[in-house]
Symmetry: C2
Subunit: 336 residues, 2 copies
DNA sequence: GGTGCTATTTGAATGGGTTCAATCCGTTGC
DNA sequence: GCAACGGATTGAACCCATTCAAATAGCACC
């Protein structure tokens, strides 16, 4: 393994017989350099196999050409797509992506984001935990531009982009009610998550509190299977289930299929997020589709604005999500 | 936005009335500091809200506490899980993860990995493209420790960890043949990928070249749907299809279901990778399961060894993959 | 040839840490 | 009481870039 010292800007300058300043200017296009010198410098760089040291670069500039991404995990199709999009757009603009995972835990989020900030990243995208306050204080104190994505938060210090969960939930519930559903179960990861609260509000506002059950299930482990089975076997069981992500959707489908003769005839299923397999099932899974590339694009625009020094008041943007109906949503039993 | 200068180690030293050296030693545990001084320093740090500047730290040490991950994308369940595991294990050891995506293109890989290396990362995990040679030369020249994951490569300069694709493919094909299958279609992303070559070798060795068809389909777009439909509708159509990843599996399932009365009775399906939905389908999807956490753990161990200066010859480790049979694999039609 | 411009080029100061040789100081042994 | 020792502490040099004030070069015009 060749651990020889790599050439520095000084080596390049010596070989090209120019000052280090000139080399730096060629490297960064800081000021105009005459074609002849530029060429000499570039030749020297390729001869030596010189690679700019971004640590020194960033150290001097006080910001690394790196953007951070903090998210709960990357296991869900939704967050994987978000990560993918972000890397794509950041890479195109010459930024690297440094990613931390919060495992849904505010403490972990605080610790990992603190570590990120120590690297003097130029900007940060956060898909926050249910309680990001201390983390946000830290980010704010550091002066690092940040945009909160997907999960709105009572905080007017940061730009935010999210989906209009209330509107799409209202649309979905209205549709279920038109189909005759009068008892709706909503399964959420966590009630304290802002998006869950908004969805629950919309659900209750449209269907009435007495017609709804909310079940909180974390990541939907074995315990969930038991509770769901019980709830769906009760005498006045729900006729429609809405789940808040695709991981829970998978678990729920499993349960629905073990119960005898209920799915999809007697119980309808609708999921937030659109996993790749939604359309492979029979019946197809009805979903609420959230356009990931759009949210990343909007968030990136906001982030770039802040990174280039814009200081206008924080904005909160909401994008529309889309209700995609497939065979998993049917008329309530006894109707039509 | 508070863009005031953050406190430096000098500020801390002044406030605690010690030298900067002492503060640095408290920060990094470089040498022993007496409890009384240590406490004074720590108090000063919290008073000022000091956060270590990792750029300066890394610049002096010539290595950032950052590990790189280069992978084709994160859209597949397999690569998402790999990313997740890597972030987990790296985070536990105080490293940040900087990720680049190669989009399956050697040029992009070269460019993005070069950018990574400029950040003087301490180590690199690569899930390489089909032709990583120039990238590997660059990595080698930089002296950065690296481990090649999942996709073996003719290169004895780097440690490698992969699954034993030949063995598991042999096991799978042997099983299909016992069930009477004599014409097997193998659908791969790209034939030039080393894992594809190994799988194809094992397939042909076991089933005979004349009994196998290999179809190359990239990411399995519309074109693939057409070609697959055609192949499966031919007079002597294959009775078993093996696909090399879960994205292609999804597409393939779709096609199988549009064809009339063939799946799963007349055509069996087996997929490399285990997507979360494998067991949700009816029939369940048979898969070749590749334990992701294991491969990351092994790779990390190797990487740490190199990062701490071990110079033994490069090792090539192979892990066993596991054949998981479900309803999608049946007897060939006419048999039993 | 000299003057006055402008466009390039230079190089020393700088960023915020780490590190190591030198210093300091308290003990121990005689 | 003094020398030798060893552990704790110090602070100047260094890492490799960027940047800006100052020097220089090139050119047109008289």
């Amino acid at each position: 393994m060749n651990r020889n010292k790599q050439p520095t800007i000084t080596d390049v300058a010596r070989l090209a017989d120019v000052s280090v300043g000139t080399v730096s200017h060629v490297l960064n296009g800081t000021i105009k350099v005459s074609p002849s010198l530029r060429e000499r410098v570039e030749r020297a760089m390729t001869m030596l196999g010189y690679e700019q040291n971004m640590l020194a670069h960033a150290q001097r500039r006080q910001r690394a050409p790196v953007v951070g991404l903090s998210a709960p995990h990357v296991a869900s199709a939704y967050l994987a797509a978000l990560t993918d999009s972000f890397e794509d757009v950041a890479g195109l603009r010459g930024y690297q992506m440094m990613q931390v995972l919060t495992r849904r835990d505010p403490q972990t989020e605080l610790r990992r984001v603190r570590e990120l900030l120590r690297h003097r990243i130029a900007g940060l995208l956060m898909v926050s935990t249910f309680d990001p306050r201390r983390t946000l204080d830290l980010v704010h104190a550091s002066g690092t531009p940040a945009v909160l994505v997907d999960r709105p938060c009572e905080d007017d210090r940061f730009d935010q982009v999210s989906f209009d969960n209330r509107a799409v939930m209202d649309e979905a519930v209205a549709h279920l009610m038109r189909l005759g559903h009068r008892r709706i179960l909503f399964v959420v990861e966590s009630q304290v998550l802002s998006i869950s609260r908004h969805r629950i509000e919309a659900l209750r506002a449209r269907a009435g509190a007495s017609a709804t059950i909310v079940m909180e299930v974390g990541d939907g482990g074995e315990e969930y299977v038991r509770r769901l089975t019980e709830t769906l076997s009760a005498r006045r069981a729900p006729t429609a289930v809405i789940v808040s992500n695709s991981l829970i959707a998978a678990r729920t489908l499993h349960v629905l299929r073990t119960l005898h003769d209920v799915y999809p005839e007697r119980i309808s299923l609708l999921a937030f997020e659109e996993p790749e397999w939604a359309n492979l099932l029979d019946p197809g899974l009805s979903v609420i589709r959230q356009p990931v590339r759009d949210i990343v694009r909007v968030a990136w625009d906001l982030l770039v604005r802040r990174m280039t020094g814009e200081t206008s008041p924080a904005r909160h943007m909401e994008l529309r999500a889309e209700l995609v109906l497939r065979g998993s949503v049917r008329h309530a039993p006894g109707r039509r």
